[in-house]
Symmetry: C2
Subunit: 484 residues, 2 copies
Amino acid sequence: MPGDQSNRQIGLLVPWDPDGAGPAHQRLAAALRHQVNNGRLRPGDRLPPTRILAEELGLSRWVITEAYDQLKAEGYLTGRVGSGTVVAGVRETGTVRTASGSSSARRATPGPGTGELPPGLSGTVDLSPALPDLASFPRTAWRAALTRALATASDVDLGYPDPAGAPALRTTMAAYLRRVRGLDTDPERVHVTQGVRNAVALVSRALRSRGARRVAVEDPSWPRMRDISRAAGLDVVPVPVDRDGIRVDRLPGLDVDAVFVTPTHQFPTGVPLSASRRVALIEWATARDGIVVEDDYDAEFRYDRRPVGALATRARDRVVYLGSTSKTLSPALHLGWMIAPARLDDALAAARDGIGTLAPTLDQLALAALISTGAYDRHLRRLRGLYRHRRTALLTALSASVPGSAYASMDAGVHVLWQLPDDTDETAVLTEAGERGLSLLGLTQCRVGPGPPGLVLGYGNLPEHRAPGVAEALADAVRAAGGR
Amino acid sequence: MPGDQSNRQIGLLVPWDPDGAGPAHQRLAAALRHQVNNGRLRPGDRLPPTRILAEELGLSRWVITEAYDQLKAEGYLTGRVGSGTVVAGVRETGTVRTASGSSSARRATPGPGTGELPPGLSGTVDLSPALPDLASFPRTAWRAALTRALATASDVDLGYPDPAGAPALRTTMAAYLRRVRGLDTDPERVHVTQGVRNAVALVSRALRSRGARRVAVEDPSWPRMRDISRAAGLDVVPVPVDRDGIRVDRLPGLDVDAVFVTPTHQFPTGVPLSASRRVALIEWATARDGIVVEDDYDAEFRYDRRPVGALATRARDRVVYLGSTSKTLSPALHLGWMIAPARLDDALAAARDGIGTLAPTLDQLALAALISTGAYDRHLRRLRGLYRHRRTALLTALSASVPGSAYASMDAGVHVLWQLPDDTDETAVLTEAGERGLSLLGLTQCRVGPGPPGLVLGYGNLPEHRAPGVAEALADAVRAAGGR
């Protein structure tokens, strides 16, 4: 265990040119990254507090915080508010010391067979597709937003809340969704939820109370959502997904009252719903007097071009739109939103009354503050850059470890579907992967009917320098499963 | 509108003797109260920030904060974090200027008939029985607790949470409930909820999934609870309440699988469940293999002696125990707890999965911090003193305005049941009270079967100096309803 380095003068370690070209925080991050890669900063070394380093280098504290955050996001540093920032990897023998990290990491992969654990895999790696980068949670900005919420909340705000949500957040969300998703809506149409699962519970109960019996779901899709609709008393009817999204042409024959879809980026296949099917879906809903529930679960993360507009923009009286902070901030916040047609208001209110839950008011006001101050946009911009690099790193590493791998290719989201050869035993692969410290979701777990095997790989928590090791471990798990 | 007084030197206004007798914060509160009562400080006057006044007077900032908080609790001052402290009553013509407030308020009541609004009733007065004093929400302590939660939460804590709650809070709650309610329980038995309504939704669904069809409720009782059980598919069977609490002897004939009770302080009648009925209730549950759900909704507030232990202490395998912060901190937090027998764990987990909700992890960690630092106990001690005085003020004022009034007399909680003469038209009284700016709950709204009329008066938000005005308005409403 290296000694505590907190008293070392950082000025001796970081060559800093105040007149260098480019943004100061990027240059500082590069300098620190270099010190880690050349071994001057070692796993366990403690970095100076941002205030101290800012004074040492004559920089603003913001510059230091940004640089630290960037390196935390890349997996070079670790730490949290109040307990200091430390060079990562002290428990990961052979990982940080050897990986060169950043954009060159995916080429500088140490080969397997060294007799040690695969690089980057000394602990469990969470490839859960629903998890954002937890180390990137904007603790400072969220604390500031909570402080602002506490300072501006009236006493009445601390009483029994409006069950549909705090007016301040509903107003902020309506404007936000108009700006980023093209949704022309009013604050009264916005319902605050505890996230998409809670919203599915509410809308399922509301539909059931209005006489709905059967709802269609995409096959494959997120399995928990189907369970939640069933718990509300609905029969769940699977509809196949192909490369253009859900087979809308199947709906008229199914006698369903509603359909749950992920049109922006189908979960888990990753395809967007085609333009012609979007039109057909709304036509079906209109003819049937049905409801389309649009789960816009990762719309914030599209890396190739501006995201397509939400389906809800086309037919506000037919579509219930769902979003949350679970993939942008943290699923622990349990905070989301729903836009619903006015005729569902009473049924939704009754459903809410029946389960007695709501996001706490102060959290709602904090999210409104986070958005209105621009901190939420800044956070998302940072995450987009981070995820794009992580995605590239994972796909590059997978191609290197398993030549000819096939995966859904839309440049979006925080997961990729890795298609396995048809004769692969997916369950055996999951078991082998688990034994190699990989926690992930199999495509079969997302399916209702039969279909080819695959793995749903979330890269939200996968720093670039760990991608080669993970790809190697995955390849190894597939090989081992084949031998069973 | 008076001008902004923030630049006035407070040293000129507050005669302060550094060698005076008694606690400094009480003496400072008395001095400021005097300045309001003699008109030197007027409604709308802005008080100096605590830091400034502390410097002026050579006192610790804590002393200033305590004094301000005390006067806010009494209704003399108003204000919130970040926007300063102001003398209350700027919109309440004739209220603060004339009421002498504090302990003398209930004797120094200006009489009615002055041609103005009744004293203290220029706006709506919320006598909702379920509301704590919102101005007493410990904003500073809660912000500190949130900051601590953000600083100590691990990245994993920000991922998908344990649906039963954060281990830190479950451990803290088990120790807290052992200490203050005599409940010998383990952290694994503690389920975090979003409050009592959410807990009733969960336990109702859990009971239903285990085959329960019929549940008994107290009559009268909190009406929303019955609705929530019905929404879960249960038939609700009312059981009368007398002066010893629920008529336990009726249970064996009712073919019910569970019973929901408020044994510490029956809502809304205010009586405790007698010792012999406690024994009989557990005997019934054991013989029937039934479940008793104990809503310990205001156990923190008992003013005459130490609170009686929870019913759950007697039969941990028969009783589901519910509590929350809705009456101690704020219902906007949506944060509570449930202690349940282990055999309900699976059914409760399934019920939670079906509705997709949980208190946010950071709020859970903040409550754990609030309790473990002692701040929660300090807050409750302060509230107990505040509520005891408010209770006395309201009852004294009611007796003065309506000689011979009858009310449930147990010295506890944040509400009192005011019994009306049998021939009173309760609905008309509520209408008349509403027209006089009083928002309150009628006893009939709490009943399933017929019974004598009454009003459930919450005094959590009723400063002492407003009690005479409220009592006068209530008396007036009853008289006006009689004339209909």
